[in-house]
């Protein structure tokens, strides 16, 4: 019996300690949680050392430097990010989100930062073109919850063309199924499709671009209670003014998307970000990707 009482006291003390720890005042610099599904190069991916790399994440890091706050990056499934932002588990969603009316009902978006079109991926040896890829009965792949999947729903299936839409957890899985001849085509955003073509070493090709002119935005909780959107929008303007933006775009979306190379360049140069020098970072990243000489921090 005495043992039980003793353990009861231990548990009680632990519970109180945990409570106090939970209520402890926040650190002085504000820290915001950025959530992203880090499995969609070149916007975000995990490198061989486990570091989070990608355009979205660099933009988030640089804005944080410019606006004087800190971020932690949380890796979360794409489907879960909007609910997590709504529930307050994430402060910013940065995962190549297209701004849509439907999403605007539940979250608020920043100014658009990227324009993207959907592309149609097929196997290079399949002989399909952008019309025959959507023949009735064909299997089309897309990632669940994306605008690519939505486009197939709205513009193919609802128009009476009975293709079979197969939804996947992530795009790389859909691409794999396409390579395995389980699908006829995959519909996804152009930059990511380019990465897939490059990675497949010629097995896949893009047969056409659908001009959806989607615009990507960062998203925050409805009503923006943390007043993040003005800082994000302002930060993006500042990046453009200081030509950080152009250099980043050139580095990540240049003619030849080369994941290995950019991962290497990023690892060499991220020290500039630690030194709070985003201009030097972006300039050297672009130079590194262009094969020119660059300066390590």
């Amino acid at each position: 019996m005495r043992a039980i009482v003793r353990w009861g006291v231990v548990v009680g003390v632990l519970a109180v300690a945990l409570g106090i720890w939970g209520l402890a005042p926040q650190a002085q610099t504000q820290v915001f949680r950025v959530c992203s599904d880090i499995a969609w190069p070149p916007f975000e991916w995990v490198d061989a050392k486990g570091e989070f790399v990608g355009f979205d994440l660099d933009v988030m890091r640089i804005i944080a430097i410019l606006k004087g706050y800190k971020i932690t990056i949380q890796n979360l499934g794409f489907d879960s990010i909007i609910p997590a932002v709504q529930a307050g588990q994430c402060d910013i969603g940065a995962s190549g989100f297209t701004i849509t009316e439907e999403r605007k009902k539940v979250v608020d978006f920043s100014d658009p930062y990227w324009e993207s079109n959907q592309s149609v991926l097929v196997r290079a040896d399949s002989g399909l073109n952008i019309i025959t890829a959507f023949k009735p009965g064909n299997k089309i792949g897309a990632q669940r919850g994306t605008t690519g999947a939505q486009w197939v729903e709205d513009n193919v299936i609802k128009q009476g063309i009975a293709v079979e839409l197969k939804l996947y957890e992530t795009y790389p899985l859909a691409e794999q199924d396409l390579i395995n001849k389980q699908l006829h085509a995959v519909v996804e955003d152009e930059p990511a499709a380019k990465v897939a073509v490059k990675a497949s070493k010629g097995v896949l090709k893009i047969v056409g671009i659908i001009m959806t002119e989607e615009r990507f935005g960062f998203l925050v909780r409805k009503g923006d209670p943390l007043k993040l959107l003005p800082r994000i929008n302002d930060g993006m303007k500042e990046m453009k003014k200081k030509s950080i933006w152009n250099n980043l775009v050139e580095a990540y979306f240049g003619v030849d998307v080369n994941l290995e190379r950019i991962t290497q360049c990023w690892a060499d140069l991220k020290g500039w970000l630690d030194k709070n020098q985003p201009e030097a970072y972006a300039e050297n990243l672009a130079a590194c990707m262009a094969g020119e000489s660059y300066k390590k921090p």
């Binding site: 019996m1 991916w45 995990v46 061989a48 050392k49 499934g77 997590a84 709504q86 529930a87 790389p172």
Partner: protein, 231 residues
């Protein structure tokens, strides 16, 4: 061939990092499940009627809930109520509650396997009810529970891969991320499978050693050898 082996070799640190998260999650949830499960089992067997019913209700509820549903409800629900628990903590809590319901039934079975005569005898010797549980029931019941518990270990070890739904990067998710970057789905997931196999094998082997180490000759259900043959 060589470049593929090299790829796995390079991915190994990340896979190991994921395996450590998986193990941490498994160990923590088993510990929570052990404590709660034992309380539930004792309540069900020895508790007065209202307590026994309460415990049964708890056990039925958590056994009925799919783990993914619980994870989502707790993760988003707690935040909605203003309680901010990190993803890993939420996962430990949810898996722990879920596992406690299953573990309670392992313990209930082994507690009930103790012959009522022993308890009557102990009571007749003047032991209190708590003393009976502490010195008669539990030492035997916990030994009997090890095989079932080892089953629970290998079960929850793999369930932990659901934790990515709320952002815990464990072994399976590390595999995902590597596969996304390298596009070597098959190769990466074969490696992930081998690591799960290794973890399951090691864990159940350690529990088997524990079972043998703690074995008491004559305890019902215990494997023992007499005159060279298994009785």
């Amino acid at each position: 061939m060589l470049d593929k082996l090299l790829l796995i070799w390079e991915s190994l640190p990340l896979l190991i990092r994921g395996a450590i998260v998986t193990l941490e999650l498994t160990m923590s949830l088993l510990a929570i499940g052990f404590v709660l499960g034992l309380i539930v089992a004792l309540g069900q067997v020895y508790g007065p009627r209202p307590i026994a019913m309460l415990m049964s209700g708890y056990e039925r509820f958590f056994r009925a809930m799919p783990i993914l549903v619980l994870l989502i409800v707790f993760f988003y629900g707690l935040a909605f109520l203003g309680v901010s628990l990190p993803a890993f903590g939420t996962a430990v809590l949810v898996f722990g509650l879920h596992s406690s319901a299953y573990q309670s039934q392992i313990f209930r079975g082994s507690i009930q396997a103790i012959k009522p005569g022993q308890i009557l005898a102990a009571r007749a010797l003047g032991m209190t009810r708590l003393q009976v549980i502490r010195y008669i029931t539990l030492p035997q019941a916990l030994r009997l529970a090890i095989p079932g518990w080892s089953n629970e270990y290998s079960g929850v070890l793999k369930d932990t891969s659901f934790a990515f739904a709320i952002g815990v990067t464990e072994l399976a998710r590390q595999g995902w991320q590597i596969a996304t970057r390298t596009r070597e789905m098959f190769l990466v997931f074969i490696s992930v499978a081998l690591i799960y196999l290794l973890l399951t094998y090691l864990g159940t082997w350690l529990l088997e050693l524990l079972e043998r180490y703690l074995s008491v000759p004559g305890l019902a259900g215990q494997r023992r050898e007499e005159h060279g043959r298994v009785v």
